[in-house]
């Protein structure tokens, strides 16, 4: 974060947050569970799944809103957790790590879905494509019905334009309602770094929103 600190004035914070002693997560009860899972203990992995499955389902449902696909994405999340748990380095908490995997899986899913939609549209004949084009404004006129869905799509498009790390931080802050202090604890970064990263992510979002508003088709 050296370069970021050089480019942007760091927020001046009180002495209470100057240097935070990191919680010894590795030696906590959950740290022990992770170490067991890392050594191939299936029971430990099962405990991790059972402990966090509800949380993962809720996160996915919040982002994707497609009930039919929620379980499939959740399975993929825990499969990734299984295969990557050996790389978990205790720099963040387990839930932060799982949260990041979950958010990435959701955005991968939405990206693939968008590509599939484009492929489907490219398969249409000219007449069919024209018909679809002509029906779209009519659908938009029913905006109040789908307003929430449209807002969600808009937010998803914006979040696709920031980095994975920025997306996770923004989601934890704005969607999960975590404070900067909690984010610092969860990620192992200091509060100044979190504030700078969030500020930069917000700047990118504002710019992306301006671009998207000017040229909605590009999204």
């Amino acid at each position: 974060m050296g370069s970021a600190a050089g480019a942007l004035p760091l927020p001046v914070l009180g002495s209470r947050v100057a240097v935070r002693k990191r919680v010894d997560y590795e030696n906590s009860q959950e740290g022990g569970l992770v170490r067991r899972a890392q050594s191939g203990d299936e029971a430990a992995f099962r405990e991790i799944v059972e402990r966090y499955q509800s949380k993962v389902f809720s996160i996915i449902h919040g982002i994707v809103r497609q009930r039919n696909d929620v379980e499939d994405i959740a399975q993929q999340v825990f499969s990734k957790v299984y295969f990557s748990i050996r790389n978990f380095d205790f720099r963040s908490s387990l839930i932060t790590w799982i949260y990041k995997i979950t958010v990435n899986e959701c955005f991968d899913y939405l990206r693939k879905k968008k590509v599939r939609k484009l492929v489907y549209e490219s398969d249409l004949s000219e007449d069919e494509a024209r018909r679809v084009e002509n029906t779209e404004p009519a659908v938009n006129r029913q905006a109040p019905v789908d307003q929430n869905l449209a807002r969600r799509d808009y937010v998803v498009k914006l979040l696709m334009r920031v980095s994975e790390e920025e997306r996770t931080l923004l989601m934890l802050k704005e969607v999960e309602g975590r404070s900067v202090e909690e984010l610092a604890m969860m990620t192992g970064m200091n509060e100044n770094t979190i504030k700078v990263k969030l500020f930069r992510a917000r700047q990118k979002l504002v710019k992306a929103a301006q671009r998207l508003d000017r040229n909605p088709v590009a999204g």
């Binding site: 004035p9 927020p11 509800s54 919040g62 379980e71 959740a74 807002r151 937010v155 504002v206």
Partner: protein
């Protein structure tokens, strides 16, 4: 954005009322006001991704995760033979057949060679360059570096 705003931005966006200094600066600085307003708008918009309801995983979820893990587990080359003996036998049979075909081909090629001179002196005499001085001179004269 000015430092006074940057310091308290996250608290402000989270709903904590800004300090007197913060509010005063925001009122007097149009650039900061515009930027904070844009960020505030997007901060509210992100709320749409909040999970509205608790989603309970369906029964048997762990079993299906375990199944997917098994499907995605990378298999070693050797495990192909262990896990599927029929496939292993087919590979072994195909290898033996290839060896047999290759072997018979090589043997038939060897018998095709006609019996040449067996005396080394004869072979050397046949392969030796011409000893005629005229031929040698002609060769040297036609040599172009």
């Amino acid at each position: 954005m000015h430092q006074v705003i940057l310091d308290r931005l996250e608290e402000y966006l989270a709903g904590t009322p800004g300090s007197r200094e913060f509010t005063a600066h925001l009122e007097s600085c149009p650039a900061c006001r515009t930027e904070v307003s844009g960020m505030q708008e997007l901060s509210n918009a992100l709320g749409v991704l909040r999970a509205g309801e608790e989603v309970t995983p369906p029964a048997g979820f762990y079993a299906r995760v375990a199944e997917r893990v098994e499907q995605q587990r990378p298999r070693s080359f050797a495990s192909l033979f262990w896990l599927d003996p029929v496939f292993g036998r087919r590979v072994a049979f195909a290898s033996l057949m290839t060896l047999a075909v290759l072997g018979s081909y090589l043997i038939s090629r060897e018998t095709d060679y006609s019996a040449g001179p067996t005396n080394p002196a004869t072979v050397m005499a046949e392969q030796a360059p011409a000893q005629d001085p005229d031929v040698m001179l002609a060769t040297l004269a036609s040599y172009e570096p």
